[in-house]
Symmetry: C2
C-alpha cells in the first residue's frame, strides 16, 4: 500500500480507474483554456491577498465554494432547460414517444429542482464556515500583540538590561498572554464545533440529493420500458399506445417516494471495518441480529440486501496495519464514537443549524 | 389530483415543498442577470434557426446538453479546488483538525473525480442522441419531395386536367411515397432504439454517480466523528490526537466500497405500484422470496432493509385511477415489461453502447 491518502502528496490511480475502461473524454471539455472560470480564479487570488494572515487560507476556501455554488446553479438551470427541450421535441413525435419524453422531462426537471434546493443548503454550510474565518481573523491581533511585546523585551534586555521599562513590559506580556489564551481556546472550540456541524450538514444534504437522484434514475428507467422499440417494416403501423396511465403512475410513484424520503430510510450506508479481533466482529454481528429480530413480518415488508463484498486480502492488510500502529484502548473508543454517531443519525432528521 | 404531470402545462408546488421549510435562497444566486450563461443561450438559439425543420428541436436539446456538460465540468473543477483548499487550510491547525480536513479533502476530491467520469458518460448519451437528430435531418428531404409532387398534381388537375404530365407525376408520387415509407419506418425505429439506449445509459450512469456520492457522504460523516469538539477552557490542553489510523482506515473502507460498487448492488430501488388485485401482489412477493432463499448464510453476509413505506391513501387513489381508465390486459403487459427489464438490469452491468 504505497498510497498516502492525503491531498498534500501526489496520488496513484485507483484500481477501479485501471480496471474499468472509461469512455473517451467528453468532447465538450475545454482543452486549451484554464480549467476553472476566470471569475472564480480572480476571486480566489483576491481572497488570499488581503485580510489577516491567519484567515487567508479559509477565505480562499470560502471563495472557492462560492464558485462551486455558482457553477451548480448553472447546471441546475441548464438541466431544467434540457428537460423542457426534451418534452418539446417529443411533442411532435408519435404518441408513445411524446408521452414518454414528456414524463421523462418531468423527472429531469425535478433533478434541476432538487439541485436548486441543494444549492441553498450548500450555501448554509458555506455561511457556517465563515464563522470560523471570522474567529480566525479576530484572534490574529492578540497573537500579534503578544509577539510584539516579547520582541520588545528581548530587544531591551540586549540593548539596556537595566531599563525600568522591562518590568512594565513583562506585566503587559502577562496580560497579553492571558488574553491570548482565551482567544486560542475560543478559536479551538469554535473551529471544531463549526467544522463538524458545517460538514455534517453538507454531507446530510448530499446524501439526500444523491439518494433522490438515484430514485429518479430508477423511475426514469421504468418509464423507458413503456417505449415500443420493436422495429417495424416500412408501411407497418405500430400498435396504438396505451401507456398513459402507466406513465402517469410512475411519475406519481416517484413523487410519493421523493416526498416520503428522509435520512432515516436512507438506503446507501457505509460499512466500516473497525474490527481488531474475531470476537469484536462476532459481538457486533450478534447485536445487529438482535436489533433486527423484533421487526414485524420480514417476509412482506423487507428485502434482503447483500453488503458490498470486502476484498479479503485488503482486510488482512488493514488489520495488520492497525495492530502495528494502534493502541487497542483507543481503537475501541473510536468505534464507540462512530457507533454512537450512527445511532444519533437515525434519531434526528434535521441537522442542528 | 389536479396536477397534470406534464411539462407542457404549469406545475403546482409539491407537498414536500410546502411542508419542509427550506433554507433561504443561496446568496450566490444571480438575481439580476439571466439565469443561463450567455454562451449557452446563444448556442441554443443558433441551433434552432438553421438546419432541416424536423431536426431543429432536437438540435436545441443537444446544444442545451452541451451547456449542462460544460457547467458540470466547472463544478467538478471547483469541487477539486475546494477540496485542496480545505486540506491546505487544515494543515496549519492542530493535529486532529489537520488530519480530518486532509482526509475530508481526499473524499471531496473524489467527488470531483467521479463527476468528471460522469461527464464523459453523459457525453456518450449526448452523442447517441445525435444519431436521432441525423436521421431526422435525412428524412426531411423525402417528406418535402412527396409534398411537392402532391401539390404539383393538385395544381395541374385544377389548371389543365387533361395534361399528359399528370400520369407521369402520379408515377413519380408512387415512387416518392415508397421512399418516404421506408424513411419514416427508419425514423420510427431509430428514434425509439436510440432514445431508449441513450436515456438508459444516462440513468445508469446517474445511479452510479448518485450512490457513490451517498457513500462518500456517509464516510465523510464517520470522519467528522474523529474531531474532538468538546469545549476546552483557556489554558487547558486537548488530549493528544491518535485517530490517524482510524481516519486512514475510513478512507480505505471508502475506497474499497467505491471500487466494489456495481449496478447489481445498487441500494436505492424504485418501488412501483403496478398492482391491481391482491393476488398479483402476493404472487410477486412469493417469487421474490424464492429468489432470495438460495443465497448462503443470510445472517452474516446480509442486512435486513426496510422498503420505503408507501402512503396507504395514495396507493388507494392510484389504484382507483388505474381501474377507471385502464383495460386490465394491457396493465399486465406493462407489468411484465417492467419486470423483464428489472431482471435484465441485474444481469448486465455495462449498458450496450
Amino acid at each position: 500500500m504505497h498510497k498516502t491518502y492525503s491531498l498534500r502528496n501526489s496520488r496513484a490511480p485507483t484500481a477501479s480507474e485501471l480496471q474499468a475502461p472509461p469512455p473517451p473524454p467528453s468532447t465538450t471539455k475545454s482543452r486549451f483554456f484554464g480549467r476553472a472560470s476566470l471569475a472564480s480564479t480572480f476571486r480566489k487570488n483576491a481572497a488570499g491577498n488581503f485580510g489577516p494572515e491567519l484567515a487567508r487560507k479559509l477565505s480562499q476556501l470560502i471563495k472557492t465554494e462560492k464558485g462551486v455554488l455558482r457553477a451548480m446553479e448553472v447546471v441546475a438551470n441548464e438541466r431544467r432547460a434540457a428537460a423542457r427541450q426534451l418534452s418539446l421535441w417529443g411533442a411532435e413525435n408519435d404518441e408513445d414517444v411524446s408521452d414518454v419524453t414528456d414524463k421523462l422531462g418531468v423527472l429531469l426537471f425535478e433533478l434541476g429542482e432538487l439541485q436548486d434546493q441543494f444549492i441553498d443548503k450548500y450555501d448554509q454550510y458555506r455561511i457556517s464556515m465563515k464563522s470560523i474565518r471570522n474567529i480566525e481573523a479576530s484572534v490574529q491581533p492578540s497573537r500579534d500583540r503578544k509577539d510584539k511585546i516579547t520582541d520588545e523585551i528581548a530587544h531591551l534586555k540586549y540593548k539596556d538590561p537595566t531599563s525600568t521599562k522591562i518590568p512594565v513590559l513583562e506585566q503587559e506580556l502577562v496580560r497579553a498572554e492571558a488574553e491570548s489564551l482565551v482567544a486560542e481556546a475560543q478559536l479551538s472550540n469554535i473551529t471544531r464545533e463549526k467544522l463538524k456541524t458545517s460538514y455534517n450538514y453538507q454531507f446530510d444534504s448530499m446524501r439526500e440529493l444523491a439518494e433522490k437522484f438515484a430514485l429518479i434514475a430508477g423511475y426514469g428507467k421504468a418509464l423507458l420500458e413503456l417505449l415500443d422499440d420493436s422495429p417495424v417494416t416500412p408501411g407497418e403501423a405500430r400498435p396504438a399506445y396505451d401507456g398513459y396511465d402507466a406513465s402517469r403512475q410512475i411519475i406519481m410513484d416517484c413523487e410519493a417516494a421523493l416526498e416520503a424520503w428522509t435520512l432515516d430510510i436512507a438506503a446507501v450506508k457505509p460499512t466500516l471495518s473497525f474490527h481488531q479481533t474475531v470476537d469484536d466482529v462476532y459481538e457486533e454481528l450478534d447485536d445487529e441480529i438482535e436489533e433486527q429480530e423484533p421487526e414485524p413480518e420480514p417476509e412482506q415488508e423487507q428485502e434482503l440486501e447483500e453488503e458490498p463484498p470486502l476484498d479479503e486480502e485488503d482486510e488482512e492488510i488493514i488489520e495488520d496495519d492497525v495492530e502495528q500502529l494502534h493502541p487497542e484502548e483507543h481503537e475501541q473508543d473510536v468505534v464507540d464514537d462512530v457507533e454512537e454517531h450512527h445511532h444519533d443519525e437515525n434519531n434526528t432528521t434535521n441537522p442542528q443549524f
